[in-house]
């Protein structure tokens, strides 16, 4: 079995973003997806702090600290970009105007519940940012995460034990082992990495999964 690297995971997510899509990429791992979007496709990247049409990072020395992304790193804009205030930016999320968001996660449940903002540890300083707004707002919520924690626990769980970001919001999960759809009938595996048997994926994940052969792929 060959696990996907972080860049391979990002490339896999990028393949599913069609031309014309309005997309928000969350902080961390999802940010990598931008590097893999084909340049010949018009895809509109939204940043919560008030920009549509975000471009790549600036050249060294060309940083403008009035032009940053949600992770507060300097970015650039593409021709056709627009700026707007925070209430408009979050209306784009909450109002269902974004086609996709890609979020990192601590846990996703079999019902599509998402936990990605707080570990709940007593010494942790909680910070939520725009995670809850994206999770309830985007038409399609993609999660991108390692399949297992560092100690080998599945991050796909029966019920989230970390504090929830939103209930039943996740549509698809991309991990370093598989691509899995969250459906009303349960979790349906779309793809697995080469050399991984379905039975082994089920064993590692520890929750019921439908094999690709058991359901028609949309």
């Amino acid at each position: 079995m060959k696990r996907l690297t972080r860049d391979q995971m990002a490339a896999r997510v990028a393949r599913d973003i069609p031309e014309g899509a309005y997309v928000n990429l969350g902080i961390g791992l999802p940010t990598l997806v931008a590097n893999h979007l084909p340049r010949d496709r018009d895809i509109f990247l939204h940043s919560e702090n008030g920009v549509l049409g975000m471009g790549p990072a600036p050249a060294a020395g060309a940083e403008d600290y009035d032009l940053i992304n949600a992770g507060k790193q300097p970015v650039t804009i593409l021709p056709g970009a627009s700026f707007f205030h925070h209430a408009d930016s979050f209306a784009m999320m909450r109002g269902g105007h974004l086609d996709f968001c890609v979020l990192g996660a601590f846990q996703v449940s079999i019902a599509g519940d998402l936990a990605n903002w707080h570990t709940g540890a007593p010494d942790a300083i909680p910070a939520v940012g725009g995670a809850m707004d994206l999770a309830i707002g985007a038409k399609q919520v993609f999660v991108m995460m390692e399949h297992l924690t560092k100690s080998g626990q599945s991050k796909i769980v029966e019920r989230c034990t970390y504090p929830l970001t939103a209930v039943a919001c996740v549509d698809r999960i991309y991990t370093d082992l598989a691509v899995i759809d969250v459906t009303p009938a349960g979790l349906a595996v779309r793809e697995m990495v080469d050399g991984l048997a379905f039975e082994e994926l089920v064993r590692l994940t520890g929750v019921p999964l439908k094999a690709p052969s058991e359901h028609a792929l949309a």
């Binding site: 940043s47 009035d66 209430a87 939520v128």
Partner: protein, 231 residues
């Protein structure tokens, strides 16, 4: 003749009292009115409730106000950052109250205050810890949380350009919370890099109309640093 320009930063913040609720524009350091914050620190007001997206970066601006222990409570969405050590220390010592608000609810609560809305139902945060104790309602089968507006006594904002009537345009993503905070506060105080003649701003392109602005102060060379950059 109406001229909202005040001669100095000290004049701009002179009457902010102890215990005031003060909105501060900015997302990280973009749009943060550093010079107005320095003036507020020098003015001495304390026991403040601060509304900002974050909880200070590095050593300047909002972080310096926190370090000076002038803040009783902060309302924000994302306090924890690589360089939010002054907030982190106060929080761990139990010396500051934190009201954590999902970012879109923060923005909409501020917008609602300026727009005269009594409260609103939002799906953001439903069935999470951040909606605990709040009224909820099912509307067309979907869960919503009742959220109330956030009003403020003052807003400190940074914009790019103003005229003497207080019409504003901003610069890039430094706009962020500026327009909605200007409307939500009883007294919006704006530092601008450039003051232009009345009529020089294109009426089609004015972002914040002067009705929302009480004071303008000219700061031609504002500090501009990134998050995580030593200032």
């Amino acid at each position: 003749m109406i001229d909202k320009l005040v001669p100095s930063l000290a004049d701009a913040v002179r009457d902010i009292p102890d215990g005031a609720t003060v909105m501060i524009g900015g997302f990280g350091t973009a749009g943060l009115p550093n010079e107005l914050l320095d003036a507020l620190i020098a003015q001495g007001a304390g026991d403040l409730t601060i509304v900002n997206n974050n909880a200070g970066n590095g050593e300047t601006g909002l972080a310096a106000l926190l370090k000076a222990k002038r803040v009783r409570k902060i309302v924000c969405s994302f306090p924890r950052q690589v360089d939010s050590h002054h907030f982190d220390a106060l929080y761990r010592a139990g010396e500051i109250e934190l009201e954590l608000v999902p970012q879109g609810n923060l923005a909409e609560r501020i917008r609602a205050a300026g727009a005269g809305i009594g409260a609103f139902y939002t799906p953001t945060g439903y069935a999470t810890d951040l909606a605990k104790g709040k009224e909820t309602r099912l509307i067309d089968g979907r869960g919503y949380v009742l959220e109330y507006p956030i009003h403020a006594d003052f807003a400190l904002i940074k914009a790019e350009r103003a005229d003497r009537w207080g019409n504003l345009v901003y610069r890039k993503t430094a706009r962020n919370f500026g327009p909605i905070m200007a409307a939500a506060a009883k007294c919006a105080v704006v530092q601008v890099r450039e003051v232009v003649a009345l009529g020089a701003l294109d009426p089609e392109a004015i972002v914040t109309p002067g009705i929302f602005v009480k004071r303008v102060v000219h700061v031609p060379n504002p500090a501009l640093v990134g998050v995580g950059e030593a200032a």
